[in-house]
Amino acid sequence: MTTAPKHLKLTVAATALLALAQPAAADTLRLLTWGGYAPEGVIEMFEAETGHTVEVTLSNNEEMIAKLRATGGGGFDLAQPSQDRIAGPQEEFGIYKPMDLSRIDAAQFIPSMLEATKDNTTVGGEVYGVPHVWGTSGLVLDTAKAGMVADYTDLCAPEVAGQVSYRLRRPTLIGFAFAMGMDPFAAYGDEAAYAEILEQVESKLIECKPNVKTYWGGGDELMNLVRSGEVVAAMAWDTGGWKLNEDNPDVTFVAPASGALGWVDTFVLPAKGQADDAAYAWINFVMQPEVAAMITEVAGNFTASKGADEFAPDALKAKYQASFTPEALDNIKWYPPVPAGLEAIEGGVLDRVKAAN
């Protein structure tokens, strides 16, 4: 009976030694990301190669920031908000920590995208984000029934009355502002000018409200509305349009005349992340062209990985080229960083639109 405790002690000591010897060997990477950005297959390959385990939590921009704010940047080791949502929340809530760029394999990134994201996510001289997946939002149309829609404002036309859907979120405000001939991004630095632009957008959206079937909330909800034919014109992400195109060749993504809105989802380290090694390993792993192409196949969007296009599925490339002519591609309006405080103005506008009859 006296040997049992001895064995136990030995085992404990051995385990402790092992743990000390390989501190970074088997971290758990708690990843806060979007649906499709961390496919099962990629996670399995990563776990097999590095020994880390990955726990995925699916979310969206606003919820990511709300979650990190609630914990002061804890609870996750790597997050993927859009690049325009990094500088503002960082200044306001301090929820991220700076990237150590020397630990990232910059050669795997498309240089122009890496530089742009670094610029957009710099706060106080420190870089907080590197790009991962990019895409646009614009119009998803049933071209047989709503071929006349060429821009966001056409969603208010009588031809599509009652068969229109968009989100009641900030991209809608920005999109309508551009379609009405204004430049909201230029007014980002000037709260008064921005409020004036939004005032005009507000009256347009209220005027447009009878045309709207419902404001969609989640991607699946929109898919259902378009698949059932209840909605023929919507404001949505490019991938949504391309996915619907597989079921119904009439439905596709169209870049609006005033320009599609371009976003870049990034990698950022939450302030209290505990597995930085695993986080950097994950970034370098998924930016390999072959792996990035696997993510493109699932998420439907292209990545900032250099050379991944070669591995992307041909069908997706064809859809992408059909939606974006070279002029439309040049006309993409990339979201600049949102200054802290603008959300409050936008919130008031969105609330009033929702309340209008």
Partner: protein
């Protein structure tokens, strides 16, 4: 000696409930209240003020939304009572044995699935390409597809359906305790069905009615899923405002103030109703 051990037993028995209340309800509410008193004056800078409560009072939209939520909830409560009372009366007084258990079970069954699934069920039924719309067209009652979703009536249907059980259960309990002999005596003394209902059944069931109404009202007022999903573009529910302030606008300060306004006003409404109907909370809770 017996005195101290009895007191120890009392403290130990009370401890879980007290801990629960303090840790999960009292402390978070104090914290939330402090958040609601912060006013943002610059990037990452805050001062203490009642500005967030001022915003609630200044912006007619927020007051209107609260009024709308409260009125719709009162209406939903009244409808639930109207539909629930006959059901409860039948189960408590008329049904016997096996039928009674089966009927009671039928009231319970919808609650075995989550609220989300129940609400999706209603969406499948009511949407333009849904079951009801197709049936109406098939029967020749409608010329084209009918959209039944995304309006106040759809919200009302969802709310009543969601809260039915919470009205029926307390009603059955109180009606059960009403001796049948009392009703018979009413008839013997020449009472008619309506007068017996008015003079005997309803007064006896009053505690059940009031507690059922309070629960249903609070559930409707605090419901988030049903109004959002069934109401669509016109839902405009107060809880939705709180959610959007917290999650979409990063404005915890205003969201916390809204939360407190909701807590305060709903308490006032319940207290007012109790006073109006001459009930006290003590009677209602038994």
């Amino acid at each position: 000696m017996t005195g101290t051990s009895a007191r120890l037993g009392f403290v130990l028995l009370l401890a879980p409930a007290a801990l629960w209340l303090t840790l999960l309800i009292v402390i978070p509410h104090i914290d939330l209240f402090l958040v609601s008193l912060r006013e943002r004056i610059g990037v990452g800078q805050y001062t203490t003020s009642f500005a967030n409560y001022g915003t609630f009072l200044d912006e007619p939209l927020y007051l209107m939304t609260f009024a709308r939520t409260a009125i719709m909830s009162v209406l939903a409560t009244a409808l639930t009572l109207l539909i629930g009372f006959p059901v409860a009366y039948y189960i408590a007084k008329l049904a016997r044995g096996r039928t009674r258990s089966v009927l009671f079970l039928l009231c319970l069954v919808p609650f075995w699935v989550s609220e989300l699934v129940r609400t999706f069920g209603w969406m499948i039924l009511l949407r333009e390409t849904g079951l009801v719309s197709s049936l109406l067209q098939w029967a020749g009652l409608a010329a084209g597809p009918v959209e039944l979703l995304y309006n106040d009536a759809a919200i009302m249907v969802g709310l009543v359906y969601t809260s039915m059980l919470f009205m029926v259960v307390p009603l059955i309990t109180t009606l059960d305790s009403l001796d049948d002999a009392v009703i018979e005596a009413g008839y013997d003394l020449g009472g008619s069905a309506p007068s017996i209902l008015r003079e005997i059944v309803i007064p006896h069931a009053m505690p059940g009615i009031v507690s059922g109404c309070i629960v249903v009202f609070m559930l409707s007022l605090g419901n988030y899923l049903t109004p959002i999903m069934l109401g669509g573009k016109d839902s405009l529910w107060f809880t939705e405002l709180i959610y959007s302030q917290f999650i979409l606008r990063f404005n915890w300060e205003l969201g916390a103030a809204f939360g407190f306004v909701l807590l305060l006003l709903s308490s006032v409404i319940v207290w007012g109703t109790l006073r109006l109907t001459g009930q006290t909370l003590r009677e209602t809770m038994g």
